[in-house]
C-alpha cells in the first residue's frame, strides 16, 4: 500500500528524516511513536503531499507520489496527478481543520462533491450515514464553532471517511482534546479500524491505544526508525534502551 524508499527530508539545514525505508501492507494499522520532533508528523505530511521529499521516493499503491510515468520516463508530478493520488488517502488533523464557514454536513460533503464529482444527493446520503456512525446525526446543521473539540474531531473523521480513502493518516488526533473526550474518539477509531479494511498510519502519544489497535508499532528517534515491531514486543520487551526510556517517560506522565 505505502512504501518509503530511501526518503530524505530536510528543512534548510535541518534533516528531519534520514534515509527512511519502510512499507505498510494493505489493511494494516501502524502506529508511529517517538519523542516530539522525531519526524513522525512529517511522514504523514509527505504522504498527503503537504510537503515534498528532498530525496528518495514514496510509493502509494505501487505508484510514485512525487513523480509520474510519462511515456516510460519519470517526470515531476503535476497538480492533476497529485489530486488523483490524494484521492487514495484521507487525513485527520490534530487541530481538526474543519471549515468554519460551512455547517457539519457541508464539511463532510464538500470533498466528495468537488473532487470525486458525486451528486449532492448521493454525497449527503453518505455523509448522513457517516455522521450517524460517529454519533453526530443531530448536528448536521451546526457550525464547527458550536461543537466541542471531541465533536469537531468526529466530524473531521467522518469528513475523511467520506472520501472513501484506502489509506487514513491520523496526526495526533487526540492531542488537542480535553482529557475526558479522548477515550470516545479513540473508541470510534478502533471501531472503524475493526470494521473496515482501510490502511491506517497513526501518529499518537496514546500508548494504550497504540497497543490495543495497531498491528505494528514503529518507534522513531531523530528521523530514523529505531524499532519496528508488533505492539506486544515493543511495549513489553523493546530492543533499545532509548525506546524503554521513552516509554517510561510517557507512561510516567500519564
Amino acid at each position: 500500500m505505502i512504501r518509503f524508499d530511501n526518503v530524505v527530508k530536510r528543512f534548510g539545514d535541518l534533516t528531519v528524516l534520514e534515509d527512511l525505508n519502510f512499507s505498510v501492507t494493505p489493511g494494516e494499522f501502524v502506529c508511529l511513536i517517538g519523542p516530539s520532533g522525531s519526524g513522525k508528523t512529517t511522514i504523514l505530511r509527505l504522504l498527503m503531499t503537504l510537503e515534498k521529499v528532498t530525496e528518495g521516493t514514496i510509493y502509494v499503491e505501487g505508484r510514485p507520489l512525487s513523480h509520474m510515468d510519462r511515456n516510460g520516463s519519470l517526470t515531476p508530478a503535476d497538480e492533476k496527478y497529485l489530486r488523483e493520488a490524494r484521492k487514495t488517502i484521507g487525513m485527520v488533523f490534530q487541530q481538526f481543520n474543519l471549515f468554519p464557514n460551512m455547517n457539519v454536513l457541508r464539511n463532510v460533503t464538500e470533498g466528495p462533491i468537488r473532487s470525486l464529482g458525486k451528486s449532492r444527493d448521493e454525497a449527503e446520503q453518505k455523509a448522513k450515514e457517516l455522521l450517524e456512525l460517529v454519533g453526530l446525526s443531530d448536528k448536521l446543521t451546526a457550525k464547527p464553532g458550536q461543537l466541542s473539540g471531541g465533536q469537531q474531531q468526529r466530524v473531521a473523521i467522518a469528513r475523511a471517511l467520506a472520501m472513501e480513502p484506502r489509506g487514513m493518516l491520523l496526526d495526533e488526533v487526540t492531542s488537542a482534546l480535553d482529557p475526558e473526550l479522548v477515550t470516545g474518539v479513540l473508541h470510534l477509531l478502533k471501531d472503524i479500524a475493526d470494521s473496515t479494511d482501510i490502511t491506517f498510519l497513526c501518529v499518537t502519544h496514546e500508548m494504550q491505544f497504540a497497543r490495543d489497535v495497531s498491528d505494528r508499532v514503529m518507534m522513531f528517534d531523530s528521523g530514523r526508525v529505531l524499532e519496528d515491531a508488533a505492539p506486544e514486543k515493543l511495549f513489553t520487551d523493546p530492543d533499545h534502551e532509548r525506546t524503554r526510556g521513552f516509554l517510561h517517560a510517557v507512561l510516567d506522565r500519564a
Partner: protein, 227 residues
C-alpha cells in the same frame, strides 16, 4: 468684507445638497471598483507568479506613494483623449468613467493590502484540509478561503470607503459636479464669492456623514475583529 455671514451659511445648503448626490455616487462606484480590483490584486499576488508578482507589487507601491490628484490629471488629460474621445461617449460619462477608475484604482492598491492580510489570517490548516480533500483550486478560494477572509476585512474596507468619500472632492478639478464644485463655482458665482461660512458648511456635511460611518465601522470591528 465681513468675516462671517450667517445668511450665506444658510443659503449654501441647497448647493451642497446638489453636489452631495454626485459625491456619494462617485464614492460608491469607486468603492465597488476598489473592492473588486483590490481582491483581484490580492489573489494574483498570492499566486506568486514570477514577474507578474513583481510588476504588480511595483505598480501598487507606486500608486500608493503618489498623489491621487496627479493620477486623476494623468487619466483625464492623457489617457481619456486616447481611449474615450472617439467613442461617442459624452463628456460627463467620460468624467464618470475616469473619476471612478482613478479613485477605484488608487484605493484598490490599499484594499489589496487589506485582503492580503485577511487571506494570510486564514489558518494554514484550512489550506491543508482542502488539499487533503483534493478540492480544486478555484473552489478552495471561493468556498473556503474567501468566505473566511472577507468578513474580517469588512471594517478595514469600510474605513477606506470613508477615506475615499473625503478625497472624491478633488475630482472637481476635472469638472465633476460635486460638493466642492457647487460651492466653489456655482454658489460663488451666484453670490459673488464663497466665504468661510460656505466652506464651513461643506466641511460640516462631510463630518456629518463620515463620523457616524466611522462609528459604525468601529462597532463592526468589535463584532468581527480586525485583520
Amino acid at each position: 468684507m465681513e468675516i462671517w455671514r450667517w445668511d450665506r451659511f444658510f443659503e449654501v445648503w441647497p448647493y451642497i445638497g446638489e453636489g452631495l448626490v454626485t459625491t456619494i455616487t462617485y464614492t460608491l462606484l469607486g468603492s465597488v471598483v476598489a473592492y473588486v480590483l483590490g481582491l483581484i490584486f490580492a489573489v494574483v499576488r498570492q499566486l506568486r507568479i514570477p514577474v507578474v508578482d513583481q510588476i504588480l507589487w511595483g505598480f501598487i507601491e507606486f500608486v500608493r506613494s503618489t498623489p491621487l490628484l496627479v493620477q486623476v490629471f494623468f487619466l483625464f488629460h492623457v489617457l481619456r483623449p486616447e481611449l474615450l474621445s472617439g467613442t461617442g461617449v459624452d463628456l460627463s460619462t467620460q468624467r464618470l468613467i475616469v473619476g471612478t477608475a482613478a479613485v477605484g484604482i488608487h484605493y484598490a492598491c490599499y484594499t489589496s493590502e487589506v485582503y492580503r492580510a485577511g487571506i494570510e489570517a486564514v489558518p494554514r490548516g484550512q489550506w491543508e484540509a482542502a488539499t487533503a480533500l483534493s478540492i480544486p483550486g478555484m473552489r478552495v478560494w471561493t468556498g473556503i478561503i474567501l468566505p473566511q477572509a472577507v468578513p474580517r476585512v469588512l471594517p478595514a474596507l469600510g474605513n477606506y470607503t470613508i477615506a475615499m468619500f473625503k478625497e472624491v472632492p478633488l475630482l472637481f478639478t476635472i469638472g465633476v459636479l460635486d460638493i466642492v464644485f457647487y460651492v466653489k463655482t456655482v454658489f460663488a458665482s451666484d453670490v459673488g464669492g464663497a466665504g468661510p461660512e460656505a466652506w464651513f458648511a461643506a466641511g460640516l456635511t462631510f463630518l456629518a456623514l463620515s463620523y457616524p460611518c466611522s462609528l459604525l465601522v468601529r462597532r463592526l470591528e468589535r463584532r468581527v475583529g480586525t485583520v
